[in-house]
């Protein structure tokens, strides 16, 4: 066990908690709790970014940490909660795979992601390079969340969680992306959320449900 500074230990703890929150999201049946977990993930990500900014002394990381905290930890969850209230979707239907099975698949995915990230981590020069594996795992777990859900709302939560994973990956591999890209991505997400919010109402008006397998029936109508 090599001696590491307390701030790096704290960063590692944040990384581990991020992974844990992804698993919690994967196992969650209630949409409201999923959104709350997304907010927690946003807070963890924002705190990790601010801590990394303090550790490396890079000014632009402070900005992206602040953007993360306001956008991903506060605004988007608030928007999603409002949508849930107005659409009245509190529960997802039973996921495609049972929970215990999903978790085991998730574990295999984590092992795969850790293996996948090893050569990338070997090339990176940052002190946080060991967390790249966790970032890849968060992205893939968010993918799994999207695959195993039927309701549009839970898929959107999975999508946002995937963006969190990508952001964390960029942070641990290269201490964050250039400012202009980060601003662009943040704006993209914001607009995507607003557009998807409108979409939800359209989908529900068309099919009386947010269950996405209704969309498949369009193919047969030709």
């Amino acid at each position: 066990m090599n001696e590491t500074g307390f701030d790096l230990q704290l960063l590692n703890t944040f990384a581990a908690l991020l992974l844990l929150s992804s698993f919690a999201m994967l196992s969650q049946r209630r949409v409201v709790t999923m959104v709350n977990l997304l907010a927690i993930q946003g807070v963890l990500l924002g705190l990790a970014t601010l801590l990394l900014a303090w550790r490396t002394g890079k000014g632009h990381l402070y900005v992206s940490g602040a953007i993360t905290l306001t956008l991903k930890a506060a605004f988007l969850p608030w928007l999603l909660h409002r949508l849930i209230r107005r659409l009245g979707v509190y529960w997802d239907s039973e996921p495609l795979l049972n929970i215990a099975g999903t978790m085991l698949v998730g574990l295999l995915i984590v092992i795969f992601a850790f293996g996948l990230a090893q050569p990338i981590a070997a090339l990176a020069t940052t002190t946080t390079r060991s967390s790249i594996g966790i970032a890849v795992a968060v992205v893939l777990l968010a993918f799994l969340t999207m695959i195993t859900r039927r309701k549009a709302m839970s898929q959107v939560v999975g999508f946002l969680s995937m963006e969190n994973g990508l952001f964390f990956g960029a942070m641990s591999a290269t201490y964050g992306m250039p400012m202009i890209i980060e601003l662009g991505v943040a704006l993209d997400i914001l607009v995507a959320m607003l557009v998807l919010g409108v979409f939800f109402f359209q989908i529900r008006e068309q099919f009386d449900s947010l269950d996405l397998h209704h969309l498949e029936s369009l193919k047969e109508e030709k």
Binding site: F6, Q9, L10, A16, L20, I99, M103, L107, G133, I134
Partner: protein, 315 residues
């Protein structure tokens, strides 16, 4: 010489303190639920009463049924001898490592379940099947917890693990935190505590552990209850050895003073752990039996995540 003294003292402490520990947990639980609490000494009185009664056996009980309480009790005493509760230099611990310890618990479980099948009543069979369901899911999680501790301290002997963890630099270890949660979940499931089984109910369709003991009486029942108390005590002490390893007499020749100091420290840890256990049992509701696999899958997940995080981050 002192090592042997430690060994004997440890087993005696486990035997004597285990009923008190159960009594303390029950007392805390009653307090937290606004009931008038029974004395913490109640389990002792119960054991004395049961030992003085005449044993009654079912007509079709085989000798195996009578043998089982002694085997279960013996396995629990052996387990208590391996776990470093007071000192880490235990002569007996050379005989078995942490994986053998899991095996000892499994032996006790198998004998108990087979004895419950033996009489052939509906409740016994039901309880035994459920016990095996919970057991086979909890065991891999417990093994994963032990594997992580072994990885960190490069040994599977519990006293060495405990000593290695106690002398490590203080810091934030997410892997240990995850496995700590996993261990707590396994402890609740294995000892028939509330989210999985309710230790306070009899004759309900939800019971697991009590259903297996329905056919026992007198000294057999006393031994079974004593070994249940010992099992909880042992699990708590494994938890201390892995996650709170401080205060135990370490070093090649434990000084008498360190040994003396270890006793009140252990008592304090048990005191706190009992209160915490009662709190967890009070705030959580009992799970449906079909949700128990999910509960234990969570424990397994936590344990494996701890292991993976340790391998990736080295923390």
């Amino acid at each position: 010489m002192l090592n042997w003294l430690t060994q004997i003292l440890e087993v005696l402490a486990a035997l004597l303190a285990a009923p008190l520990f159960i009594g303390w947990v029950n007392q805390c639980r009653a307090w937290l639920q606004n009931k008038s609490a029974p004395s913490a000494l109640l389990p002792y009185r119960n054991l004395r009463k049961l030992f003085h009664k005449e044993a009654v056996l079912a007509n079709n009980a085989s000798p195996f049924f009578r043998l089982a309480p002694y085997v279960v009790f013996g396995a629990m005493v052996c387990a208590a001898a391996i776990i470093p509760t007071l000192g880490t230099r235990l002569p007996f611990s050379n005989a078995a490592d942490a994986i053998a310890l899991v095996g000892l618990f499994a032996t006790a479980r198998v004998f108990m379940s087979l004895a419950a099948f033996d009489v052939g009543t509906a409740f016994g069979t039901l309880g035994a099947r459920r016990e095996m369901l919970v057991g086979f899911l909890a065991e891999p999680a417990l093994l994963m917890v032990i594997f992580l501790a072994s990885l960190i301290s490069t040994s599977t002997a519990l006293p060495t693990i405990s000593e290695g963890l106690a002398t490590r630099a203080l810091g934030l270890y997410p892997s240990l935190a995850f496995t700590g949660v996993a261990f707590a979940l396994v402890l609740l499931a294995e000892n028939a505590r509330i989210p999985v089984d309710n230790p306070a109910t009899h004759l309900e369709l939800t019971m697991i552990h009590e259903a297996m003991l329905l056919e026992y009486s007198a000294r057999h029942l006393a031994l079974m209850e004593w070994s249940a108390a010992l099992k909880l005590f042992n699990y708590a002490c494994i938890g201390f050895a892995l996650f709170l390893p401080w205060g135990v007499a370490t070093g090649d020749a434990p000084r008498p003073l360190a040994l003396l100091a270890a006793i009140p420290i252990l008592a304090f840890k048990l005191f706190a752990a009992g209160g915490l256990l009662a709190l967890v049992e009070t705030v959580s509701a009992k799970l449906r039996i079909f949700r128990a696999p999910e509960f234990l899958a969570t424990a397994f997940l936590f344990a494996v995540l701890g292991l993976l995080v340790h391998l990736l981050l080295g923390a």
